[in-house]
């Protein structure tokens, strides 16, 4: 569904992405892991067209995404740090997104209800805590029932109860056959979610394996132990 071929991106002298190639298919739940500043967020932003790559190309359903914008209709994106216009209320932000996407029916408001955002609709974005902002970001990502979900550190800043709600939601969406891309540092959380792992370091993809092969290769059951096995090398 998403294919990246030899994508490179430099920020000044820093190579954020170095010849990255990967393939993601429908029904997969992929964990994108790696140390800080390994290019995970840059890769995600390149897929979304927020960062323009220097070389290489990315296709979405067979179409090159460069200068294209319609494909984003099928992506729900939850940023690492959700930043919204300060003066708008939660309700206004949600309505604006519905208005911009031109969709008012067939909405998935599960998360809005489960997070209890209905009671907070009149609150201005400026006054929200980091966790509530994350809840808004998550609700927006799932709102339009997109075929692809891209979640950048989804559970960072969420309380245990809310991250459990979010995890259950991710599992439900996975079962519907959607493609899900998650980055996270909390590997133990990803155990029961992901089917594949992409490990990045210094802008390169070190490996892209299914969770079964990873377990066989390392002889470890748990994801965090398996990854630690690789990091020690």
């Amino acid at each position: 569904m998403i294919i990246a071929s030899n994508v490179s991106k430099k920020f000044g002298k820093l190579k954020a992405l170095d010849d990255v190639s990967m393939t993601c298919n429908r029904g997969e739940c992929i964990a994108l892991i790696g140390p800080n500043a390994s290019g995970k967020t840059t890769l995600i932003k390149t897929i979304l067209g927020m960062v323009v790559q220097d070389s290489g190309f990315i296709t979405f359903n067979g179409n090159n995404i460069l200068h294209s914008w319609q494909y984003r209709d099928q992506i729900g994106y939850m940023p690492q740090i959700g930043r919204y216009p300060d003066n708008m209320t939660i309700g206004q932000v949600l309505n604006m997104m519905k208005d911009i996407r031109g969709r008012n029916e067939d909405l998935d408001e599960d998360l809005i209800q489960q997070f209890g955002l209905n009671q907070l609709m009149a609150k201005r974005m400026r006054t929200l805590s980091g966790g509530t902002r994350q809840k808004v970001s998550a609700s927006l990502a799932f709102l339009f029932n997109p075929a692809v979900l891209i979640l950048d550190e989804p559970t960072a800043g969420l309380d245990p109860l809310s991250s459990e709600i979010l995890k259950e939601k991710i599992i439900r969406e996975k079962q519907k056959g959607k493609l899900i891309l998650i980055t996270s540092h909390i590997l133990s959380e990803l155990d029961d979610l992901v089917t594949q792992v992409i490990y990045m370091q210094e802008g390169k993809v070190l490996f892209h394996k299914s969770i079964e092969t990873l377990q066989q290769d390392t002889g470890e059951e748990k994801l965090n132990r398996a990854i630690a096995h690789f990091m020690r090398k």
């Binding site: 984003r72 209709d73 994106y77 930043r83 919204y84």
Partner: protein, 255 residues
């Protein structure tokens, strides 16, 4: 695109600064007209104030607004929208709001006291200058990532168009006083929309007789139909070129 313009405009019109700007223009215009016993003298004083305030407020407000909308822009870019339409909507929303503020603040008093060709030309000039400086501000804001640098660049640009340019022209005139500079002067005015606006309005007034030989040359050129078409083409180029350059930059910008 209409939807984004709507959100940008409601956001700006709720802003107290724009309201304050409207009131300031309104108060200045009324006091100028009531201070001077001669209405065209009042218009002249108003012209000088407008040529300072309108570019200043347009350029500074727009630059800060673009920087403050960074979150909003980032949010929109991740949605199924063309970057082109995001940027053009931002420009349209900003310039429409500032033009509206000018029309209400200065347009109404001018129409009350001086509803003739000169008055209309002045209103048109205010609207065009607002748009030009919004366009320049957007170019300055997209070129620099740092907010302080971007706002500094805007202030310098305003200084250049309002003061430095005139100083440079005077310097040139004195240095080359022995040569006939009247015709090249017409070309030089094209490099500053503020001066071009000032000359176009002054020529509509009787005071242009005081401008001597240069004034006569200007009248010969700008007074004609070709001259008018030329100056408005130049003014619209001043809107179009910065918008186009900033759009090109924005299309490739990493957010």
């Amino acid at each position: 695109m209409k939807k984004i313009i709507k959100y940008v405009m409601t956001d700006i019109l709720r802003n107290r600064i724009v309201l304050f700007y409207t009131l300031l223009l309104f108060a200045t215009a009324f006091s100028m007209f009531s201070l001077e016993d001669n209405i065209s003298k009042g218009l002249l004083s108003l012209l000088n104030i407008i040529l300072i305030i309108v570019p200043l407020v347009s350029i500074i407000f727009s630059t800060i607004y673009v920087y403050n909308s960074a979150e909003f822009i980032e949010l929109l870019v991740s949605q199924p929208l063309k970057r082109r339409s995001i940027w053009l909507s931002l420009f349209t929303g900003l310039s429409a709001s500032l033009c509206l503020a000018f029309l209400v603040g200065a347009g109404i008093p001018v129409l009350i006291y001086q509803a003739n060709a000169t008055g209309f030309l002045m209103i048109a000039m205010g609207v065009i200058l607002s748009s030009i400086f919004v366009a320049i501000a957007m170019l300055a804001a997209v070129k620099t990532r740092d907010k302080a640098k971007g706002i500094g660049a805007s202030i310098l640009l305003w200084l250049y168009f309002s003061l430095l340019f005139d100083g440079l022209v005077l310097f040139l005139l004195f240095q080359f006083a022995d040569y006939p500079l009247e015709k090249p002067m017409i070309a030089i005015t094209a490099f500053n929309p503020v001066d071009l606006g000032r000359i176009l309005i002054l020529l509509q007034m009787d005071v242009s007789a005081l401008m001597g030989y240069t004034g006569a040359i200007f009248r010969d050129f700008f007074g004609t139909y070709t001259g008018l078409v030329f100056s408005f083409t130049i003014l619209f180029t001043w809107i179009f070129v910065p918008v186009w350059l900033s759009l090109r930059k924005f299309n490739r910008k990493d957010l």
